[in-house]
């Protein structure tokens, strides 16, 4: 269990935290009923403010991803997760891992990789049709 939001990525820290928690749950690293780190300890570990973690947790609860029990802590919700099966996510993770590895082997930086993905998601590269 290790969360690592990147303060200089432009994306708000609390959003990154939310996504990382979701990611951990979807890939099975966190299972329904599991307890999440406390707000204060986590904030200290990540060297960010207590309020920022609290905001992320609150939003996650609002989305039904986790459950907050006052006085006890934060726990992964027991939602049936009608979404993708865990295996799909794991397959996707493997695929992405392989691609990123190959990109890195070609010497591409994180920023360049991000840019490529963003461009592709934006439907950018489609102008060329077959991309070279």
């Amino acid at each position: 269990m290790l969360f690592r939001p990147n303060p200089s990525s432009g994306v708000p820290i609390y959003l990154q935290l939310m996504e990382q928690v979701k990611y951990a749950i979807e890939t099975g690293a966190l299972r329904p009923g599991d307890q999440l780190p406390g707000i204060r300890p986590l904030a200290e570990e990540l060297v960010i403010n207590l309020n920022t973690v609290a905001k992320a947790y609150r939003e996650l609860e609002h989305e039904g991803v986790i459950e907050l029990r006052h006085g006890s802590g934060a726990f992964v919700a027991k939602h049936k997760r009608a979404g993708k099966p865990a295996q799909t996510l794991r397959d996707a993770q493997t695929l992405v891992a392989a691609t990123v590895k190959r990109l890195r082997a070609r010497g591409l930086s994180e920023e360049e990789i991000r840019r490529l993905v963003e461009a592709e998601l934006a439907g950018y590269a489609r102008t060329g049709g077959r991309h070279g």
Copy 2:
């Protein structure tokens, strides 16, 4: 030549614009000496403020990516670009395009794809060792 920053992605618009310009240059869509859209026309087309485009251009010039000629316009710098050869970027683009296509075929949303990539870049998935 079409730039499309996403105002609701969390990433600052001017940063997205910068990256898209860089991307266009690195992939060859924009070549050294080419003129970029004027600040005002582009701002109007993207429905964003003039200052936002100006900031992106200014930063790009500061990075040596483009050249601003007062009264004439913005042009792609003639930098020798000691970085990656265009072919490397094009190969990478093809690879990313294929991966994204496969992920989409599996039903993954843009957000999920982004999360997977970010997690991988963060060195996240390595806990599992070989990713499945």
